[in-house]
């Protein structure tokens, strides 16, 4: 998609592979990034349609459409998996990470271009398996948390759960390889003068995220392997009858699962930092604090997992520890929020679409974050646990805040990626539709949760009808906003104005804005040299000189 029109100028993009081989055999970080973004867009449509089916069923009390309630559970499961593993992760890490980490650090490509390619294809294979899983047999009706014994062979005898397990194995392997690639790229391929402390915060965010992926995903792989052998080869890891323990799965899953939620939000933090700095025309406030806050979040993220298990019967002292440890994360996160505000303070803010999404992100993330602090308390979480309060919490932080960061990133970088600029007017409209939609969609779910409505139910007591209807109306608005986004993509490629190398002006100081738009097939073939200047976001203020 990226080079359809204006590519072909300049000495940089001389011969590059053409035809299908260019994509299938690709060893180019931009092409691979583009494929990741397309994959994410496809998965978002599937996961979105599933979520709208869920909201349609829940619009009114009673079973509307899913006489087979197993299918409802399958939809919830597939929706969660798709959105987490095949929409947000591929777009943020594989898509924008691939595209812009090399560009921002002045590297000509990723460290291991061939491995980069297999990371993508494994993700695609995982997506195929995951979507198939919903349609084999009776599907995996386990929730995305796949707790045994419900996910064991006795209660899910078909092949669906095995499809799900292997989908995650393949996508997980792809992500681990991708993480190695990103870390080595950042450690080994920074342009002269681009010290760690001068890297843009997006690169920092991806670096920390890659470490989380590297250390958390193998634990999931181990847990899934045990589930697979329990199901098919008669082992007893999670089977009480053989002396195993269902809680083992929960520990392992959440030991991965909690870092996973930061895997989703940290790249979003990075994107938001770039956007806010650019459109405030100011360097990021408290650069080092921002970078190390992400490291702290990543680290603490590994020692709080059991806050998802407060009602599972773990000991009281353990719950006390996890309460305190979990709340600590609010501190580095607060540093980030306030530093963003301080970045805007004194700035000269342009409310372009990416900035609107960044501001929307702040709103959504703070609301979702503070309800996380409520849930952190084991002494009160048991009232909200497994209710829509949790659903509201994680859609605010994960679903919509992260999706807002992705929309922001798309509008921010599409000119650089495609050479075409989006329509500002359409994007602003899409922002407002989506912003109103998601708040109407998810805010009432707090009320439902406090009132006691459990998650993962296709039908609910009549008292919950009111807010559920409101929520479903919100989903309908969101659907309009989503479809409009796809229209805007089409519109950009069809009618978009040619993008300049730097469409954002003085605020956009990172290296990707020094190369032409669209970024040629090969960039930074001559390494830029970064002088001492403003920290991080503004390395260029010290001036980029061409290599001698």
């Amino acid at each position: 998609m990226a080079y359809a029109t204006t590519a072909g100028h300049g000495e940089h993009d001389d011969h590059h592979p053409t035809g299908w081989r260019r994509w299938i055999y690709s060893t180019n970080h931009k092409d691979i990034g583009t494929m990741y973004i397309i994959l994410s867009l496809v998965a978002a449509l599937i996961g979105g349609v599933m979520s709208w089916m869920i909201r349609l069923e829940l619009a009114e009390p009673g079973i509307q459409f899913f006489d087979n309630t197993q299918f409802y559970n399958v939809l919830v499961t597939a929706h969660g998996f798709l959105m987490v593993f095949f929409v947000v992760m591929p777009a943020m890490i594989g898509g924008f990470g691939n595209w812009f980490v090399p560009l921002m650090i002045g590297a000509p490509d990723m460290a291991f271009p061939r491995m980069n390619n297999i990371s993508f294809w494994l993700t695609a294979a995982g997506l195929t398996l995951l979507v198939s899983s919903a349609f084999v047999g009776e599907g995996p009706g386990t929730g995305w948390t796949v707790y045994p014994p419900l996910s064991s062979i006795a209660y899910h005898p078909g092949a669906a759960v095995d499809f799900g397990i292997l989908a995650l194995h393949l996508a997980g392997a792809g992500s681990i390889l991708g993480a190695i690639n990103l870390i080595v790229t950042v450690f080994n391929m920074r342009a002269p003068g681009m010290t760690l402390h001068r890297m843009p915060l997006f690169v920092w965010a991806i670096l920390v995220t890659a470490f989380l992926l590297l250390l958390a995903l193998p634990v999931l792989a181990g847990a899934l392997t045990m589930l697979l052998t329990d199901r098919n080869f008669g082992t007893s890891f999670y089977a009480v009858s053989g002396g195993g323990d269902p809680l083992l799965w929960q520990h392992l899953f959440w030991f991965f699962g909690h870092p996973e939620v930061y895997i989703i939000i940290l790249p979003a933090f990075g994107i938001i930092s770039q956007i806010i700095s650019t459109f405030s025309k100011k360097p990021v406030f408290g650069y080092l604090g921002m970078a190390y806050a992400m490291c702290a979040i990543g680290f603490v993220g590994f020692i709080v997992w059991a806050h998802h298990m407060y009602t599972s019967g773990i000991g009281t002292n353990a719950r006390a520890y996890f309460t305190v440890a979990t709340m600590i994360i609010a501190v580095p996160t607060g540093i980030k929020i306030f530093s963003w505000l301080a970045t805007m303070w004194g700035g000269s803010i342009d409310f372009k679409a990416p900035m609107m999404f960044a501001l929307g992100f702040l709103w959504l993330f703070v609301i979702g974050g503070v309800t996380g602090v409520v849930l952190a308390n084991a002494g009160i979480d048991f009232v909200m646990h497994d209710t829509y309060y949790v659903v509201a919490h994680f859609h605010y932080v994960m679903a919509i805040a992260a999706i807002f960061a992705m929309f922001g990133a798309y509008y921010y970088w599409i000119g650089k990626m495609s050479g075409r600029q989006y329509s500002e007017r359409l994007a602003q409209i899409q922002f407002w539709i989506f912003f109103i939609g998601v708040n109407v969609l998810f805010f009432p779910q707090h009320f439902l949760g406090l009132g006691g409505m459990p998650r993962r139910i296709p039908d609910y007591p009549d008292a919950f009808a009111g807010w559920n209807m409101v929520s479903s109306v919100g989903a309908a608005i969101t659907m309009v906003g989503t479809l409009m986004f796809y229209y805007i993509i089409w519109h950009t490629f069809r009618y978009g104005k040619t993008a300049e190398a730097n469409p954002w002006g003085e605020g956009a100081t990172t290296l990707e804005w020094t190369v032409p738009s669209p970024a040629p097939f090969h960039t930074h073939e001559e390494l830029p040299v970064i002088g001492a200047g403003d920290h991080g976001h503004g390395p260029l203020h010290g001036g980029v000189q061409p290599a001698e």
């Binding site: 690709s26 060893t27 460290a111 292997l166 450690f187 958390a216 634990v219 392997t225 082992t235 323990d245």
Partner: protein, 274 residues
């Protein structure tokens, strides 16, 4: 790109390659074939998947070796990147084993898990005697750790004959270990389906054994590469990766030996396990 004869940076721009997609097709085939097989289907698809996988590994690494031998792709900067990559990969492998050790301690240490077994091994399980065959295997792996280090010195000194010999010796010790472990499995007093003890035992030691196999195969490749003169004092990343991987396999075994074989059979005072 092949078209760039002169480039102004030290990095390796890799040509487009069919291997990633071929390997992915193989992985996909293994996954679907495996599911079919586990649910009563024939094994052929699974086997075909593995065959394609081996072909793609072979092709992929052949390309890497050729690039390394070309003389200009693997600059010292690229070599550094490769080394960091290997270390990161090993870190992720450590976390994979972490999951199995967690399963083991979750089942056996009441301090960690209030529902853990109070006697370990659980009743009815006759564990192996740690100081028999497992200890012999420990010695073998420790020795192989030493031989691979000797080989490393030889590589640094560019002593081809010595490096070939010691790499070969390490690989042989690795296969010897595998043989003994197969013997041990064969004489186990418990089967895979016999509950949580065999589950943790076989999966933890089994995955370790698989890693020994991978490491030994890797060393075997290094053996032939050493004979072909691929390793020089300042370019031998492939060997270094194999050596590091081997040390990692070694250390995992030490943990397995101490935790599962030794401590895990401490409650048991019967005759030797085999």
């Amino acid at each position: 790109m092949a078209t760039h004869t002169t480039k102004s940076h030290p990095f390796h721009m890799v040509d487009p390659s069919p291997w990633p997609i071929v390997a992915t097709i193989a992985a996909f085939t293994i996954a679907t074939g495996g599911i079919w097989f586990m649910h009563g289907g024939p094994p052929w698809i699974l086997i075909a998947g593995f065959a394609v996988l081996i072909v793609s590994f072979f092709g992929w690494w052949r390309d890497v070796v050729n690039e390394a031998q070309s003389g200009h792709n693997h600059t010292s900067v690229v070599q550094h990147g490769l080394r960091v990559g290997v270390l990161l990969f090993i870190a992720s492998e450590v976390m994979f084993f972490f999951a199995f050790f967690w399963a083991y301690f979750n089942a056996s240490v009441p301090l960690i898990n209030s529902a853990a077994h109070t006697t370990w091994p659980p009743e009815g399980i006759t564990p192996f005697h740690a100081w028999g065959l497992p200890f012999l295997n420990t010695l073998i792996l420790l020795t192989s750790g030493a031989t691979v280090t000797v080989a490393h010195h030889a590589v640094r000194l560019n002593d081809r004959e010595k490096m070939v010999f010691w790499i070969g010796a390490t690989a042989v010790l690795g296969f010897l270990f595998l043989g003994l472990q197969a013997f041990e499995y064969h004489h186990a007093a418990f089967g895979l389906t016999g509950g949580i003890y065999p589950s943790t035992f076989f999966l933890a030691t089994g995955f370790h054994g698989f890693h020994v196999f991978v490491g030994a195969a890797f060393l075997t490749v290094c053996f032939f590469r050493a004979r072909a003169g691929h390793f020089t004092p300042n370019q031998h990343v492939g060997f270094e990766a194999a050596a590091w991987y081997w040390h990692f396999v070694d250390v995992v075994w030490l943990f397995l030996f101490v935790c599962i074989y030794w401590w895990g059979s401490a409650g048991y005072h019967g005759p030797a396990g085999h």
